[in-house]
Amino acid sequence: MRDIAVVAFAQSPGTSADRRDDMAEILLPVMREALGSAGIDRTEVDFWASGSHDFHEGRTFAYIESLDAVGAWPPISESHVEMDAAWAAYEAWSWLQLGEGEIAVVYGVGRGSLATDLDQVTTTQLDPYFLAPLRPHQDALAALQAQALVAAGMLDEKQMAEVVVRARAAGMGEPGAQVSGEVTVDELLAAPYLASPLREHDRGPIGDAAAVLVLAAGDTARRLAGRPAWVRGADHRMDTHYPGTRDLTRVDTVTLAAAKAADQAGFAAREVQIAELHTEYSYQEPLLTNALELSGATVNPGGGPLVARPTTATGLIRIGAAAQHILSGRADRTLAHATSGPALQQNMICLLEGDR
């Protein structure tokens, strides 16, 4: 495989609802920052990829507005996924493998705050004939998975609260965080249930944000970054849609994607120093940590999605954050995880490494 690295990453400040800027205005300063830190301009970019969701925006072709902000003239080579932009990063990474270009830019911009009732939106990703008509709210399926773990003796509510305590403390001073602060396990456990065993703080807060990642190949990456974050391995896997046919206490797709990524990378998830996990709910952290055997790694040192969850950018931010640890010299090997769908239905694992 060709050597491909993240050479720059930027994200907008975490905000629960940006009512001042439109999509393009949210994206543009982030795009400028990412390209600026790589020291390139638009004309040097060989491929573009993005992720967005029309349903979250409440309109058709939401990505065209952000694309116009990027500026596709003269015409560009470009693609788009209607998924978290982590999948756009995978597409850009595979495109760079072809050897037809040197630099790719990936962006995700989402405004989860636009929906008056997000439960009406998230239901539409379920089977439209059997599940969606039941209108389970967005946290109900997550609670089923959390409850399955509790019932199996693999998790308790105190552990979930401990994850939140650590995430909120880690989020203090992080510009990307929407919530942060010192809280105690007892305070958290005194809160009412949202969907047992989940409480409000057990889910990451939905928000509005944009994130931009610059990928480059080989010597170009070495030229653009002092210490490129090489994407040594990446893989993603899908599970069945029907929660009733899955063993919710397992995340076999995470295990499988991690094994495939490790085959490419030559090192395993358990060998990384920092892991950025797309934990939309607190219960997912111990589940993922166990599946990835991350006993020695620091997990979500900036608080992760439990302190900010901008739609369609959250997974991409994990890759960006995992890369930043290497770009800044804080770590030599890191992992990024992204997820999509109810109860961790679809999962991606990226393994990154810096030169020593």
């Binding site: 596709a72 080579s77 693609s79 999948w87 495109w95 990703q125 439209p128 896997r237 769908g341 239905q345």
Partner: protein, 384 residues
């Protein structure tokens, strides 16, 4: 790496109210897998193509369709670039093989428009802009008028194309519209929708699915049926809103075709291509795209049509399947064009087979004609 299409499947295009989206997708997937003589365990990755989620009200359909596509345990990506998406999906699927990330990729595409409201979904208002509720036809009608003005084309050209494509569809059992008695007079007398686009010059809104299997050369020959070899493939995007755009002859479309021909070693596409499946949702887009992708001189596309060269039986048949005018499940339409081109060079197009088709174009466009995808496929492996 040499790449090939080894399996193709599609559902009948129609108002398919009696099947679920999953079942309709499975029809095409099963047919493509059977054609490729593969089991689900042989597939390494899946790319899903679908137009806006608001069309049929399912967000992130790759999640719901995981089981229908046989995707459990596989990497699945849902590509979305408007009407060109089926072409983008096929190209991304081919890239995964080319990049060595997969050995065999299943590309799946669908739309279930009977379960939604296409024009409503295309007309969602933006804040601070006029709420026109215009839909697709209203966007393209002024482009067509401008084409007619520039090229001085006579008005019967659009009517004739509508007849040609619908007669082609009578040879394709999968096509939605079956109008064996259609005449130029009927088209001319049909209701005006968006001047100059008349009802019978417009595509229908269809349900339908399509699937293809793409592999490298090592896996291309294990069935008795010939593969379709990919000789060139490209996608290009241009920005939708700026004064310098020429939507009658989009620069992105020209560059997209030029890049694919460069890869395929084609210098005179009009002479070297045997047939083409072009994304023609309104009749007048036949001359517009003929010129844009280099199959006719600029301004002369309508003359090529008028000469009969692009009709079935002519030297360069366009949309022998009946094309978009005869069936338009938008999420699948682009892949159908790519798949039909592949069927032609495999010699498996049945009643609408163009004799001795050696090289064919599959073409798709999306958005306000700002997203373009095109591939050139051949019956023989590419030289280099």
């Amino acid at each position: 790496m040499k790449l090939a299409v080894v399996g193709i499947g599609q559902s009948k295009q129609a108002k398919k109210r009696k099947v679920t989206i999953g079942a309709m997708v499975r029809e095409a997937v099963d047919e493509a897998m059977a054609d490729a003589e593969l089991e689900f365990g042989d597939i390494d990755a899946i790319v899903l193509s679908k137009t806006p989620d608001l069309f049929d009200g399912v967000m992130n359909p790759e999640l719901y369709l995981a089981d229908a596509m046989g995707a459990r345990g596989l990497p699945v990506t849902r590509v979305f670039t408007g009407g060109s998406v089926g072409g983008h999906a096929a190209i991304y699927g081919a890239h995964l093989v080319q990049a060595g990330l997969a050995r065999r990729v299943l590309v799946v595409a669908y739309s279930k428009e009977s379960e939604g409201d296409f024009t409503w979904a295309l007309s969602r208002g933006l804040p601070f802009s006029a709420q026109l509720g215009a839909g697709a036809g209203a966007h393209f009608a002024p482009v067509i008028r401008e084409y007619i003005r520039r090229s001085e084309a006579p008005e019967h050209i659009g009517w004739q194309i509508a007849v040609n494509h619908r007669l082609n569809a009578t040879r394709n059992p999968y096509a939605h519209l079956q109008l064996p008695d259609i005449t130029v007079e009927q088209v001319r007398e049909s209701r005006m929708l968006w001047d100059p686009i008349r009802f019978l010059e417009s595509c229908p809104s269809s349900d339908g699915s399509c699937a293809v299997v793409i592999t490298g050369a090592d896996d291309a020959h294990h069935t008795g049926r010939p593969p379709a070899w990919i000789h060139g493939m490209s996608w290009r995007t241009e920005t939708g809103h700026f004064a310098g755009r020429d939507e009658v002859n989009p620069e992105a479309g020209r560059q997209c075709a030029a890049e694919a021909y460069r890869q395929a070693g084609i210098t005179d596409p009009a002479a070297e291509i045997d047939t083409a499946e072009l994304y023609i949702p309104y009749s007048w887009f036949e001359p517009i795209w003929l010129e844009n992708v280099g199959l006719a001189e600029v301004g002369a596309g309508w003359k090529v049509v008028d000469s009969g060269r692009t009709a079935f039986g002519g030297e360069l048949p366009i949309n022998p399947s009946g094309g978009v005018l005869s069936g338009n499940p938008t999420g699948a339409t682009g892949l159908l064009r790519f798949a039909e081109a592949a069927m032609q060079v495999r010699g498996t197009a049945g009643e609408h087979q163009v004799p001795d088709a050696r090289r064919a174009i599959g073409h798709a466009m999306g958005g306000a004609a700002q997203f373009h995808a095109l591939w050139v496929v051949g019956s023989e492996p590419p030289q280099s």
